[in-house]
């Protein structure tokens, strides 16, 4: 029972990671950018969601508003920050991204205060759901549901729609895709939009899960997200999902059994390093 519970906890963690990491891997697959500032988008989503929820009392409204705000910010970051420096060495975009994250973390603090904000009404948070001796709160259940639904929608998008096919073609070879009439710029904007919407929704969910939205909430999950996309094999979507769930479970068991030696972040990165030393291309990445 104890192990089952740890497994479940790990899978829920994995679901939040997956929602962050999928966007990161989309961006990386297209542009080879480690998009650390995704954390900013995540945090913005959480704040917008919280403010809307507390003012209107509507959680549905909160999710829509968060998705829109995040979905707007992401493409803007691409257009005004990344696009002009795409031809520079990769660390340029990485450092620019870290700079944006640092600045915005403090920006959120100046705007909304350092203590963080809580939801005025958060019934999911306080409702426990028990089944077969296990007990979760309702937010955890919704996180799992949201991850499955959103990721399935994404899979449908990628395989069944014209835009999705164009996206996959651009990932595998931008110049050939362009010569077949795919608008590369449109594909990039769309990818940033999708990645950001996922991050924004994840932000609200994590905000509900902690019942706390705070300026620095995005950074750790973003660094973990980077670890996950590397672990999965950079730019590889199924690998990213597998790595997310795996890392969640490793952390959940690791904090119990390795807690005396390492903290949670160190456990995650130790796992990452070990896997990469054995498979340098990541779990499902293709060998180069």
């Amino acid at each position: 029972m104890f192990y089952l519970e740890l497994l479940l906890v790990g899978l829920v963690w994995g679901c939040t990671y997956a929602m962050m990491a999928l966007g990161l891997t989309l961006v990386y697959g297209l542009l080879r950018i480690l998009h650390v500032a995704q954390a900013t988008v995540f945090t913005l989503g959480a704040y917008v969601g919280l403010l809307v929820a507390n003012h209107t009392g509507s959680l549905a409204g909160a999710f829509v508003a968060a998705a829109l705000a995040a979905g707007l910010l992401g493409p803007l970051v691409y257009r005004f920050i990344y696009r002009p420096i795409l031809d520079k060495p990769p660390f340029v975009a990485l450092v620019a991204s870290i700079g944006l994250l640092i600045a915005m973390e403090d920006g959120f603090r100046l705007l909304f205060g350092p203590y963080g904000l809580s939801f005025a009404k958060n019934t999911w948070f306080t409702t426990a759901v028990g089944f077969g001796g296990l007990s979760l709160n309702l937010v955890q259940v919704w996180i799992a549901v949201a991850a499955v639904v959103l990721l399935s929608l994404f899979a449908l998008f990628a395989t069944r729609t014209r835009a999705g096919v164009a996206w996959r073609a651009t990932v595998s070879d931008p110049s050939i895709a362009e010569s077949f009439g795919v608008g590369v710029s449109g594909v990039r904007h769309t990818s940033f939009f999708i990645a950001s919407v996922l991050a924004g929704v994840a932000g609200v969910l994590v905000g509900l899960l902690n019942n706390l939205v705070e300026p620095g909430m995005g950074s750790v999950i973003s660094y973990k997200g980077l670890a996950i996309i590397v672990l999965g094999g950079l730019g590889n979507v199924p690998g990213t999902l597998l790595a997310s769930l795996l890392l969640g479970v490793v952390e959940s068991f690791g904090t119990v059994y390795l807690g005396k030696l390492l903290d949670r972040d160190a456990i995650a990165f130790l796992f990452l390093i070990l896997v990469l030393m054995i498979r340098p291309q990541g779990l499902l990445g293709k060998a180069r």
Binding site: F2, V9, P114, S118, F125, N210, L212, P215, R264, D265
Partner: protein
């Protein structure tokens, strides 16, 4: 209080500092550093508020020997490498006394510098045991972590009669000190420690700890951390079906803790120095004035810095404003000095003895539960 007004206050303080040369004959300047930016900015803000309230109250009551106090506020980002130049800057600017409204890292790093320069230095809430050991110019007005841990052991073993306890410990100097103090005396109160689980500062998700606690099946939980860890932690424990009493620390002593944990906070007890139902005048006045000035309920960090400022002001009143050695002697000579966090006297190390206030959350508010006044159990170290 809004961000705008807080930054305006800081700005005012800084402008005042910049033009202080001609005005210095009038105002007594007190150095103050706190984490205004970075991960600890929440506590930094409370610290600044506590200090500002103290200065305002003291000035309204006529200042110190007819002169007004003035805060010179600097940001240390809770980083030791920021604190060193900052300490030297305070000394170079001729400040005679400095208060730390910051964490252990920067406070410990700065303490040595101030001691060498013979500038009295009062730490408001940093808990590292080595801070006061930097030298006899260094004081601390808060509980040491170990002492507070001992108070919690007595509360659980004696008052509540719970004998099987699981510890959930924040993995930083604060949490480790609390846990060490608790474990040191647990046996004396017949407490058997079922297990200890640790987590990191950045953690908000505690699923594996909740599962482990259920497996331990303790009679009570002793939980350390700050409100931003503790709020989610307590809520997740309750949602996970853990119903036993939860005992926390002064890190939870803020309304933000209750705002996050909501109903799950009901019944949680904490060891602290702030008694909301106190009849002591300085404590009552601090609680009332704080809420009037900042429109939010007072918290422990603010109370601690408020206390430190009062101690410094009293030192200046008795020791004069020019001579660090005399100010130091005046502070170390304080006996039964009444401040917002109780009645304090310094020992030879520069630590204080205070009674521990046990508060319980009822109806969404901190209320008095018990007072542990045991000078032997709660004695701070003397060397």
């Amino acid at each position: 209080m809004s961000i705008k007004s807080s930054s305006r206050l800081i700005f005012t303080a800084l402008v005042a500092a910049a033009f202080a040369a001609p005005a210095a004959a009038q105002n007594i300047r007190i150095g103050f550093h706190a984490p205004l930016t970075g991960f600890a900015a929440a506590d930094g803000k409370s610290a600044v508020q506590g200090a500002e309230l103290a200065v305002e109250q003291i000035n309204a009551a006529g200042g110190v020997n007819g002169r007004r106090l003035e805060l010179v506020i600097q940001d240390d980002q809770a980083r030791p490498d920021q604190a060193l130049p900052l300490a030297n800057k305070f000394i170079g600017d001729g400040l005679r006394v400095v208060v730390s409204g910051s964490y252990s890292g920067p406070t410990r790093a700065a303490a040595g510098v101030f001691h060498q320069a013979k500038v009295p230095y009062v730490s408001a809430y940093a808990i590292h045991p080595d801070i006061t050991r930097a030298g006899n110019y260094v004081f601390r007005t808060s509980f040491m972590g170990e002492v507070q841990g001992r108070a919690a052991a007595k509360l659980i073993g004696d008052n509540l009669k719970k004998k099987k306890v699981t510890l959930v410990t924040l993995n930083n100097d604060f949490g480790q000190a609390l846990s060490a103090g608790f474990k040191e005396v647990a046996g004396r109160f017949g407490i058997q420690i079922a297990a200890e689980h640790t987590y990191a500062m950045g953690d908000r998700q505690f699923g594996s700890i909740v599962a482990s606690v259920k497996k331990d099946d303790p009679e009570a939980l002793y939980v350390s951390g700050y409100f931003f860890n503790g709020g989610p932690l307590v809520a997740q424990l309750r949602a996970g079906g853990v119903t036993v009493p939860i005992i926390g620390t002064e890190g939870f002593d803020t309304h933000n803790f209750i705002a996050i944990a909501k109903d799950a906070a009901e019944g949680v007890m904490i060891t602290t120095s702030l008694d909301r139902d106190s009849s002591a005048a300085p404590m009552r006045r601090f609680i009332a004035d704080f809420e009037t000035k900042f429109k939010v309920p007072a918290d422990m960090v603010a109370a601690s810095t408020h206390t430190a400022l009062y101690v410094v002001a009293e030192g200046l009143r008795r020791g004069g404003v020019d001579d660090g050695a005399r100010i130091r002697a005046a502070i170390s000579g304080l006996k039964d000095f009444e401040v917002a966090t109780g009645r304090i006297s310094f020992n030879e190390l520069g630590e204080v003895y205070k009674a521990a206030q046990i508060q319980v959350i009822r109806g969404g508010k901190f209320r008095h539960f018990a007072t542990i006044d045991d000078p032997v159990l709660l004695a701070p170290p003397t060397k």
